[in-house]
Symmetry: D2
Subunit: 342 residues, 4 copies
């Protein structure tokens, strides 16, 4: 059994992680920390976990984190960078679901995240946890930077094209739509039910923090800088990301075959038949990305539709997938839930 | 492995049954029938099942149903009563998720369901599949009448009071609210998104088909006739039933303790601590009923709050629970999914 | 033109009031105050008002409130009781949409609202602004206690029965469901989209602040104390209240005729034909209460269904109706909007 | 008073038209036809209209349509093209909200709509009813082809750029999101609440009927053919369209100023301040298009955000605006409703 701790279990990625870990056949959950909720039973805050998670939230200072084999950080940005080092030194491995270790260029990170980085050395050490790109490095990693939700959906949708070098990588467009849980479990008026329900809007059009993360990943795949216009939107649903991706063809290919080939051996990427339109509910609560490829009117603009559950393949599920790789167990262990539909 | 067939797999209870059965460790799914969709891959209609259910819908006439150990009917009312007999004769057992075998009084059934019953003898034979009441009979049954969704939530909420004889059983009130999936997957304008979303209404106030089913169950528990006012409501959510139950106290009791005692050994009924208000999402996609008991202002009116997922404990999950009992395996097999929250 | 000021224009009743007042033919909006947002253009916070409300939020201290003919308080409980007196002394009339002046029994108010009342004398002076009961007193009033949302729907539904004395007033039951905007525009996690969407729950079952307000109104109509069990529920919709009311018949009546007679001359109460089930969207954004009466199975329990838009007939619209009465203009002025459906 | 008839009043554009017309100060509603619902009171089908629309649906054959000054067609495609001619001959004017007269190129229309056109001569005669482009022609028109919802939002967002010739018109991208009411009030499973709620998907990526309509309008503005990639999406909300538009800059401009200048005199187009993100609720139930312009990271890709209520500025409201122009009355008459928020 892998002894696991979770730092920051009161947000949506935290509770989703607990849902997955509590059903994982090879995990023993040892601690869930929350400074604010220390002493509260986890299942009192999240009744869905009654009878399944028997721990109380514990104060990080008194938690047996350093005796864990693995510690997840499901904390706001800026926490893991301060605490991961000590845990690594104590011999634990770490998967950080925040953005602290995702961007290799520290100056870029500091510009977008508005703070000084506390552990520059660990940034260099961290492995970006997108198994479809970095599987081998993940197996050997001590510290994983778990990808963001938009970056997961967007990179998986663009990767085959960018790797093959058959589209104009200087003018990619990602029009991405997220469910409201992507904004976290924070007391903010703009994500109240009465604000976000029965309405739709873009946000962050001038620039969103996930832009540099996506550009870094695609540039690495392309072998050169890429140009991306990324517009996120808030959608009145709880879970789900739908990325609609546009790229200009520069070299002809059988694009459907290209995608099928690229993801033939991937357990959690599903390339749909030609003509498909995946809906986000087809991945609800499951660790899968479904992708469809279109070429409207046979023109020179490709349209890729890529959907994930932002809390699963876009966060907690991918984190569990990374854990499975790191500990040499079946990559799919604890991740075989069928999506919940309707 | 239990060889299983599903008749009528294109509705919501059907697809939910497939989700549960495809993940059940002791089930081999042999056939899913649909006259209208014969030849279509199940996963083409429900992409959530891609890679997990590899069958095509088959025509009932050419399906290996009679070589199954168990056949589920997830069909509209009036189908199972015509077809169950032949399957039973061939040695299969049957769980009917429709209302065909739920009401013992044939005249009453015919009045509420507006048709002649095709198999009166089987009605007498059928066991009402509410394990919290009929567990022993279910184990031995050949034919199960799987309870309705409102009847499950309402009976589980009233049972301890009615069995104990401590409330006025002549004037029970059940104000019940259902998600829209309870209306089925039928092309009807009144359950369109643009009709049912962002709105709330009662329906069937003069009389709903689940009324005689609930009254039959409660009368059996009380040992005499009961009087129930039952008003169902349509709520803008996909899954979930919330029954708010009112009963007048006739004899003092520790009602919290009464409920805790009654359900102490029940794996799928969860009595919440005093003061609780269960929300339907706390049972989403899981086979559990959560119940809270209130006595406002210490008056003589008790309020019981009872929530289930209408498609799981209110339909497919309860049907799997019944199967587990009938085949002598762990009652919880394949039913340990943690609710999906948020 | 009636010169009008609004104290506290940043909540949902505030913005709804602005929507109605900006379209009212006899109102001149002079000031909208908000300490926190002073200096911000109202239309920057609520883009729906662009081009229609040109004021900025002003600091209450520097606002021309005392030169207004009428001041609305759309503030949290506890504000109006401190500020209304000075405005009344300056000659303005006041309509308070909070609960400060609704309960005549000060001890009761203090128990439910958890604070000392700052202006006991004004409580005695205030007129409860339910025009269907108090029309004549409202015309002459200086200070109106505008009813709560649940109390409006519930009282209008019970009044004909209670006034006629034909039901058991000791055991009334109100099972009420509200849209989330009823909880206000406050940054609280429990009303986040991801918490309140696609779920349903009761709250306040042990006791809700609207209980004494409803009991006071019904007792006054009955001429004696009443007993009410009141259970509010949170529904995943923005606007709307649906009250399902239960009462035991004590004396036979033609109940449909009783309701039609009672509300024959009421411009904003619509008694539906027998057999109807009003949905909340049929009153969305309009100042109307629709009511249907049922007697299931001809038994002795009556079921009344009463729906309003909580922000209109349950708050801002009723406040405008009261203003129209106080200023001797057409009661329906500015309130003739047709509900928005779908 | 303008005597008005509505053919086909049972869909969402129909009921929205009735809402607007019943509140219009210069309209007398004479007939609402529906073959299927002839004899039913309009307000029985749409209780929101109780007391406001007193007509019954009438059979088209017995309706006083040809004595009307104006007849609206709110019918499925293929109806108006057969019936408009006779009404025009009888002296009525006609506004068709379907697509029958929108496309000038008959071959193109027949390809996308899959039927032979019944009145080619009227197509030539019809004026495309986008007032921001065709105001003068609309004033003089007998027959108006009222624009589609996506085409309204998309054209208004692209027009200033295309007219100015400052972007690459060969590679425009419109990523458009619609509320579910855009799919009409049809009994189809794919728009059931339980299918469309809490989920998001693209549809029609290979080609949607609104594509040729948008291309025709933009080509006319550009003075040459344009190339457009148009991907519509279904969003879990009732009303609203959000078009996110992408265009490559070919000639520098002050784009914010360009839009403000273009729409300076338009009563129903609102160009937002720089940095804005309009949400669809800011136009809910109102006849307005709000537009924001972004240039992410100062690159060469412009992003225009354009929102409308699909049933108002995208259908019924625009039809009333066209009527106002045709009859020489105030263009804003009956269209001054403030959006309903929240």
């Amino acid at each position: 059994m892998i002894k696991v701790g979770v730092v920051g279990g009161t947000g949506y990625t935290g509770v989703e992680l607990l849902r997955l870990l509590a059903q994982h056949p090879q995990v023993e959950l040892r601690a869930v920390t929350s400074r604010a909720e220390a002493g509260t039973a986890v299942a009192d805050m999240f009744p869905s976990l009654r009878g399944r998670v028997k721990l109380q939230f514990s104060d990080p200072a008194n938690s047996p984190l350093d005796s864990c084999d693995l510690v997840y950080f499901a904390t706001p940005n800026g926490v893991a960078m301060k605490q991961a080092g000590a845990l690594l030194d104590a011999g634990a491995r770490v998967i950080d679901l925040s953005a602290d270790f995702r961007i290799k260029d520290l100056g870029l990170w500091q510009k977008w995240y508005g703070m000084e980085h506390a552990s520059p050395a660990l940034v260099a050490d961290a492995v970006y946890g997108l198994p479809e790109v970095n599987r081998q490095h993940i197996r050997a990693a001590r510290l994983i930077a778990n990808p963001g939700c938009y970056p997961t959906a967007t990179q998986l949708g663009f990767l085959p094209l960018v790797e093959a070098g058959c589209v104009d990588c200087g003018h990619l467009i990602a029009d991405a739509k997220s469910g409201v849980s992507g904004a976290g479990r924070k007391a903010e008026t703009n994500i109240l039910f009465s604000e976000a329900s029965d309405s739709f809007k873009a946000y962050g059009a001038p620039g969103h923090r996930h832009l540099p993360e996506i550009e870094q990943g695609l540039a690495s795949a392309a072998g050169r800088a890429v140009g991306l216009t990324f517009v996120p939107h808030l959608t009145p649903m709880i879970r789900g990301i739908h990325a609609t991706l546009y790229a200009r063809v520069e070299r002809e290919e059988n694009f459907q075959a290209l995608f099928e080939r690229r993801y033939a051996d991937e357990p959690f990427v599903d390339v749909l038949p030609p003509g498909s339109h995946p809906d986000t509910r087809s991945v609800r609560a499951a660790n899968v990305c479904r992708i469809a490829i279109h070429r409207p009117q046979g023109g020179d603009t490709l349209v890729v539709l890529s959907v994930i559950d932002n809390l699963v393949k876009g966060a907690a599920g991918q984190a569990v997938q990374n854990m499975n790789l790191m500990f040499g167990i079946d990559e799919c262990a604890g991740l075989s839930h069928i999506p919940v539909l309707p």
